[in-house]
């Protein structure tokens, strides 16, 4: 009797257990979506483009501006982390942490943008209006353009991934493009973006038509297409949404989002940017890895060169430090992607190159006047180009500019002493060379 009972109970338990075994082993996270249902309605489409902006933050918060500054004569290494020392000495191994992280994060951004571009047109949700759909797609095209532009000017022509990575097979057979092909892709995406994006009078922390035009002006400048660069820079400058704000420091003073800004990524208490930590000394709570060079400090403190841009630095003696990123208490410094001052200098350079010297000087002096610096004395074409180069170096001392400018104008040898042109491009990450049969390392690494 008893045995029978036990046997039945065991049997019953066993049947119930095996039936629920399969279900029992199903576990899903509560903070992630399954890939197959990631972009399905208006709400997830919005979230996906927000996610793409978050990815842009991923490389612009710290890594990309570092690549544009410590590599030059403006900023020197002052810390203990050798990845920064390598950049400062322009002896960059293929596993340099900063270049690897930037490269990786840019492609992460591209994968996000590709996912939006692939999935959002197919979302059937009445809550997603055509206007909003276009805005989301326009932002995705802009972000992809920005990403490939940033890859192109750092690493040269790269592999063009235009579809989301659903599995590793979609990667096969895609070789590196030429720099021209990469820039052509940027242009194609910018044309799409400009059509699809909205424009209003206030938004500066998401892409709008003007941001697409501004990036296009920069692209043409990099490609030495002077007339186009002048045209598109002019379109942005003529937009009353943007002005050169005075004093200089107001654009990097909280609450930010000044009319100086064509595009800046915003941060908040819940979405911090601690880049200041690399610039501030430990007595102020930072690490002081990035330090303004003595030469830059001298220029900034010279009223005829730096003018009111001496507000970019603080401290004295051996502890002079950069304060462009200064929200030490709150960590909400924006990432400055495109400022209107840049458009003036793009147009100045494009005009100078086309020998429109007076107009070029006017644009240059607009930027100088804002910084309370006397007008440039340069009158010749070469003199103006040199003055514009110098102005870029001061105006954007701690932003992602000088390195890329000196490389694009082929002046990195003369100015920085890097005569080996191979080192004008960053290395393709070591692990990609190992894991990707389709990639070829940049020469010299």
């Amino acid at each position: 009797m008893n045995k029978l009972y036990i046997r039945n109970a065991v049997l019953l338990a066993f049947i119930l257990l095996s039936a629920s075994c399969k279900k029992y082993l199903e576990e899903v996270p509560d903070n992630s979506l399954p890939t197959e249902s990631s972009i399905t309605d208006a709400s997830t489409a919005r979230a996906a483009i927000i996610g793409a902006f978050d990815r842009v933050q991923g490389y612009y918060a710290s890594n990309y501006p570092t690549l544009g500054t410590i590599t030059t004569d403006n900023v020197i290494f002052n810390g203990t982390l050798s990845e920064y020392l390598q950049l400062d000495q322009n002896a960059i191994p293929t596993d340099n942490v900063i270049t690897v992280a930037a490269y990786q994060n840019i492609y992460r951004t591209i994968n996000s943008a590709n996912s939006v571009i692939a999935a959002v047109p197919g979302v059937a949700d009445p809550l997603l209006t055509t206007a909003e759909r276009n805005k989301i797609l326009g932002e995705a095209y802009f972000i992809r353009a920005l990403s490939y532009f940033d890859l192109g000017r750092g690493w040269g022509g790269v592999q063009l991934q235009l579809k989301p990575t659903t599995d590793l097979n979609v990667l096969k057979g895609i070789k590196r493009s030429t720099l021209d092909q990469t820039y052509d892709q940027v242009l194609a995406d910018l044309i799409q973006a400009e059509q699809l994006l909205p424009e209003d009078a206030t938004v500066r922390n998401r892409a709008q038509k003007s941001a697409a035009r501004a990036l296009r002006a920069r692209l043409h400048l990099y490609r030495k297409q002077w007339a186009d660069a002048e045209t598109y820079a002019g379109q942005v400058i003529s937009n009353t949404k943007y002005t050169l704000v005075k004093p200089y420091k107001s654009f990097f003073t909280a609450p930010f989002q000044t009319s100086e800004s064509v595009l800046e990524l915003a941060y908040s208490a819940n979405d911090r940017n601690t880049y200041w930590n690399l610039w501030y000394p430990s007595s102020a709570g930072g690490q002081f890895t990035l330090k303004p060079s003595d030469a830059l400090v001298a220029k900034l403190n010279n009223p005829a060169i730096g003018g009111s841009r001496n507000t970019l630095i603080a401290g004295s003696g051996t502890t002079v430090y950069g304060v462009l990123y200064n929200t030490t208490a709150t960590s909400v410094d924006p990432s400055y992607l495109i400022r209107i001052a840049e458009l003036y200098l793009i147009r100045a350079e494009a005009r100078a190159q086309q020998n429109k010297l007076t107009e070029a000087a006017a644009d240059l002096n607009a930027v100088r006047a804002r910084a309370d610096v006397p007008a440039s004395t340069a009158t010749t074409q070469s003199g103006l180009l040199q003055a514009i180069e110098d102005e870029n170096g001061i105006e954007f001392a701690f932003e992602a500019h000088r390195w890329f400018d000196l490389v694009r104008t082929e002046r990195a040898g003369a100015v920085l002493g890097i005569t080996n042109r191979n080192y004008w491009l960053f290395p393709i990450p070591y692990s990609d060379v190992q894991s990707d049969p389709d990639v070829v390392q940049n020469p010299g690494y």
Binding site: L25, S32, I50, T80, S82, P93, S282, D438
Partner: protein
């Protein structure tokens, strides 16, 4: 989950009910037997011996005077089986009352009963490789974790304390590293509970594991420890067993014994064996000047034009920061326990308190522990019991290693001519570093852990030999960390005070049913069967909540709730494991044993296609000593050969949802929710499997005075759960897949010897040594990591894990003073292609030697631990022998050995900060910078050492003295720990692993607290 438990409870109740009905059967009394059980040689009564009537399940145990009685339905004569732990089992035919039974004490370890997976077996029948360690080995030591104390005590395990911080993380490996990305820690089972061994502390301490979760168990509660090493022993734990299994059994009472009360205490004083030494102010100034002059020369300038930073180096002051770091650290330990049993129940209850300071301020560790082990024999057939462990641990945490604002970093790295205080009396800070005194006085990072490890079980003897056991276990870890950085330390300066408060909870629920059958059959009981079948249901739930805040009105306000800016986060992950297993062992005539086991595991972590894994094993043992041809030799007292082969699995260390394609939330921007792809789907993800072959022998000679165990094993782990790097253009960095293989093979030898044994004097020696060779047999591509992105550690096919890749410095050119490196690819320049593997952090062998001398009441023992062949990357040298390149960092005295003049022969190159021509071999740029960037083999040192771990002298008062004061045992002792170390290592302590958070970055010494030297006095009293 819940409904499953309900089902289980229902099942359990069914069993329980039937037991009660069984018990209600009333037998007819046919005979009464009274008797006594005694020790054969001493005639002392043996309380708690179990007496059973053969062929029945009727058993009783002896009382405190060794007496028992039977009232039974059996009539005389019948056979009694008398068993008692530590004594030979005896069968005796009785034909009338009373009887006196004398048991022979077991002299041979082979007859011990060994706890194996889900069962116990006599050692002589075991085919697997299992080490047994008595609990007393790990008791009364100035250290919190029992696993840490297994160092050098047995074969096949390698144990390293990562630092000298009490309660801090340790590295524990059984027969080498099996894996690369999955866990390499063994499975710990305490009284049948699968315990969680993941470090719950969230506070950032550099890259160091902040705690040893096993230090939540008071070592004094431990009865014995079994280490299951080979596949035959571990396969029954299937998916959890590949890294070895540590089974801990805690103390329980014995039936019919009078309560005894034990009081243990010790007091310890710890100091640093060696303290950091840095170059003095004048020396730093001299070196800085020299570097400046040399750099000018390298740049083609006239050195006489150089403006020296220190025109008069000798006038520089020296500020001593190091002495402010260290202290004489106190350890206090108090324990109270009681143990005993009645006819129907047994108990063990203990309370413990341990407080231990770190020799480097301000860390400390406090543990409050309590344990209740209780068993009740409800009927002859049904026993229920419980083991409950409560622990509270308090840790005062302090960062180190790669954290520049850590206490040691802030004392060690700043230049010694710089004052500690500013002129206005405030704390001075330099470069990236904080002020060490500010940190010591203001660090406020506390971790409070609550740990409950509990188990209830019921055991029911269905038929003689057939037993059903059901067990329900909980391991609940709750870690509550609060840290506050006020405005006097740099972490709080900028934000005006910053606080974080986090709670991490881990719950492991395990239910298991085991039906076991142990029977001897046939004529002369020649056939012995030991078999079992069972299942387990296991759930692991991890949850955490964190709140952070910045901006406080005053330094005395610390609560996140009053911060100006607050944010929070929470996470949850749950995994499940279902298992079915069976094991059978058959022994013929006490000579030949064959056994096998199989386990099926289904894990929620794996892909839908390959969720289940199957892990079989088999073993054979041959006791040659039972064969006549060996007996005739008259040489061996015991001789056994063993061999086993089997599979075991691993799933620990990968994410709960590792096989799923995921878009993560939290990719937010502009206060709007964002999502972004984070993980590629892998529906084929499945178990990492280890195939292990083991052969071994156990033998003893000279009347069991010398016993030796030797094992050879070869473990091949394949289908590694490997984060295979994928091209970054995919938008992902890696893809978790089953790829790669690792092999560990090795040899172990353990010797126990009783050198001298007389009534008054005894001398015993234990020696063990373990060799392990690790090799990565298959890997998708090299994986470099470690040292904050410097990639000093590397995983490469054909080499062992934990290898170091550096530029190999061949020599310093005596003419130029520049370092010359090995140009591996012979292209004439130094590039990253010239980095090579120059050593690794794994010792070739480890071992221990213990000698014990007993003379009357005195006991003297000493224990040496040794390891050989491992390398240590000395990061302190890396940073502080920098040739002038680090303007904010001082120098170590080793820098003074630099090359100065042509003809100097040294391994420290000429000081310079010249940076042009970074590819030139033998050029000035690569001395300390350039492409080499100081990643030079000159900072890699031999970490071999021999250490006198413990030296103990104790005295037990004689019984007649004790009788008068009402005490049954009193032992007082004095012990020294880490008194002597023999090593060539130039850092403070060769037993170090600063980057221990990652199993693949072992062997770094980086601003780490060294192992202290401790003197302790203690007493053990039993009433």
């Amino acid at each position: 989950m819940n409904h499953l438990y309900k089902k289980g409870i229902y099942l359990f109740l069914c069993v329980f009910w039937s037991a009660i009905t069984f018990a209600q059967v009333n037998p007819t009394i046919k005979s009464t037997l009274n008797g006594t059980v005694q020790d054969l040689t001493t005639n002392q009564p043996l309380p708690g011996a179990v007496v059973r009537i053969k062929g029945t399940t009727h058993s009783v145990s002896t009382d405190s005077e060794g007496k028992f009685s039977f009232r039974t339905g059996q009539s005389f004569p019948y056979v009694l089986i008398i068993s008692f732990i530590g004594y030979e089992q005896k069968e005796l035919t009785v034909n009338g009352s009373p009887v006196t039974i004398r048991l022979q004490e077991t002299l041979n370890q082979l007859n011990d009963v060994v706890v194996t997976g889900y069962s116990t077996q006599e050692r002589k029948y075991i085919a697997g490789s299992i080490s047994s360690i008595s609990g007393s080995t790990v008791q009364n030591q100035p250290s919190g974790g029992f696993n840490q104390l297994l160092q050098g005590k047995t074969t096949g395990v390698q144990v390293t304390s990562n630092s000298g911080v009490p309660g801090g993380g340790i590295t524990f490996r059984v027969r080498g590293n099996n894996s690369i990305n999955a866990s390499v820690d063994p499975l710990y089972i305490i009284d049948g509970v699968f315990v969680n061994n993941s470090d719950p502390i969230t506070a950032g301490l550099g890259n160091q594991a902040a705690s040893n979760p096993l230090s939540d168990l008071n070592p004094s509660d431990i009865e014995d420890i079994q280490i299951l090493k080979d596949a035959n022993a571990t396969a029954i734990y299937g998916s959890l067993g590949a890294n070895g299994v540590i089974i801990v059994t805690t103390k329980r009472g014995t039936r019919n014994t009078k309560a005894n009360i034990n009081l243990n205490t010790f007091q310890g004083w710890s100091t640093a064996v060696d303290k950091f030494k840095v170059a003095s102010g004048p020396e730093v100034a001299l070196l800085t000047n020299e570097s400046r002059i040399n750099t000018a020369k390298d740049n083609g300038l006239d050195p006489s034009t150089v403006v020296l930073p220190f025109p008069d180096p000798s006038s520089q002051p020296t500020y001593d920061r190091i002495s402010g770091l260290f202290r004489t650290a106190r350890t206090e330990n108090y324990e109270l326990s009681t143990q005993g049993g009645t006819d129907k129940s047994t108990y063990y209850i203990s309370l413990g308190y341990l407080n231990q300071e770190s020799i480097v301020k301000p860390s400390d560790y406090t543990r409050y522990s309590g344990r209740l082990n209780y068993d009740n024999y409800l009927t002859d057939k049904l026993k229920i019991g419980t083991s409950i462990n409560f622990t509270r641990s308090d840790r005062n945490l302090s960062g180190s290693d790669n954290n520049p604002t850590g206490v040691i970093n802030s004392a060690l790295f700043p230049r010694s001519y710089l004052p500690i205080y500013n002129a206005d009396g405030t704390y001075a800070r330099y470069g990236s570093f904080d002020n060490h005194l500010a940190l010591i006085e203001n660090l406020d990072s506390k971790a409070t852990g609550w740990r409950t490890i509990g188990n209830i079980f019921g055991e029911y003897n269905i038929l003689p030999g057939l037993k059903l056991r059901s067990s329900w276990s909980l391991d609940n870890t709750s870690e509550y960390d609060n840290s506050y950085s006020n405005t006097l330390i740099s972490a709080g300066i900028a934000s005006n005070g910053s606080a974080s408060s986090s709670e991490v909870k881990t719950q492991v629920l395990t239910n298991e049913q085991v039906l076991s059958f142990v029977k001897s059959l046939g004529a002369n009981k020649k056939h012995n069967i030991n078999a079992l079948i069972g299942n387990t249901i296991n759930t692991v739930l991890n949850q955490s909540t964190t709140a952070t805040g910045t901006g406080f009105a005053a330094n005395s306000l610390k609560s996140v709730s009053v911060a100006a800016t607050r944010s929070g986060s929470a996470s949850r992950a749950e995994t499940k494991l279902l298992s079915f297993f069976s094991k059978a062992s058959y022994t013929y005539d006490g000579k030949y044993t064959i056994d096998g086991s199989i386990r099926a595991d289904g894990s929620s972590k794996f892909g839908t296609n390959k969720r289940w894994g199957y892990f079989p094993s088999g073993g054979v043992a041959w006791r040659l000593s039972q064969e006549d041809f060996i007996k005739d030799l008259n040489f061996f007292n015991e001789l056994k050969l063993r061999a086993s082969l089997g599979l075991s699995g691993n799933q620990n260390g990968i994410g709960a949802y590792a096989a799923q394609g995921l878009w993560s939330s939290g990719a937010n921007y502009l206060e709007q929710p964002g999502i972004a792809p984070t993980q590629l789907i892998n529906p084929d993800l499945t178990w990492e499997t280890t195939r292990q072959f083991n052969v071994g022998t156990d033998f003893s000679i000279l009347k069991n005075r010398l016993s030796i165990t030797a094992d050879y094993y070869n473990k091949y782990t394949y289908d590694l759960l490997l984060n295979v790097p994928v091209p970054y253009r995919s938008g992902f960095a890696s893809y978790l897949q089953n790829y790669g293989a690792v092999r560990n093979k090795g040899f172990e030898l353990g010797i126990n010897s009783t050198n001298i044994e007389t009534d008054a004097f005894q001398w015993t020696t234990n020696f063990n040594i373990s060799f392990n060779k690790n090799k990565i047999e298959k890997l998708a591509s090299d994986i470099s990591l470690g040292a904050s992105g410097r990639n000093i550690s590397i995983l490469r096919q054909g080499y062992s894990v934990n290898s170091f890749q550096l530029y190999k410095q061949l020599y310093v050119d005596p003419q130029t003073g520049n370092a010359v490196y090995d140009d591996v690819n012979k292209d004439g320049i130094i590039t990253s292609a010239d980095r090579q593997i120059v050593g690794n952090a794994l010792p070739k062998y480890t071992g221990g030697l213990t000698n014990n001398f007993t003379y009357k009441g005195f006991d003297f023992s000493f224990f040496f631990y040794f390891q050989q062949g491992n390398k240590i990357m000395n990061m302190n040298d890396f940073f502080m022998v920098h040739g002038g390149t680090q303007a904010n960092i001082g120098f170590l005295p080793r820098q003074l050995e630099r090359w100065q003049n042509p003809g100097d022969v040294t391994d420290i190159p000429r000081l310079t900060t010249y940076s042009a021509n970074p590819t030139q071999n033998g050029g000035a740029a690569n001395n300390y910078g350039g492409n080499v960037a100081s990643l030079s083999s000159r900072y890699l040192e031999d970490g071999s050492f021999i250490r006198l771990k413990a030296l103990t002298l104790s005295y037990s008062l004689p019984k007649d003295v004790l009788g008068r004061i009402g005490v049954s045992k009193l032992r007082i002792y004095v012990q020294g720990t880490n008194l002597l170390t023999f090593t060539k290592y130039g850092g403070l302590d060769p037993e170090v692993s600063s980057q221990s958070n990652n199993q693949n970055t072992v062997g770094y010494d980086w601003a780490t607290v060294p192992q202290p030297k401790t003197i302790q006095v203690g007493a053990n009293v039993t009433f």
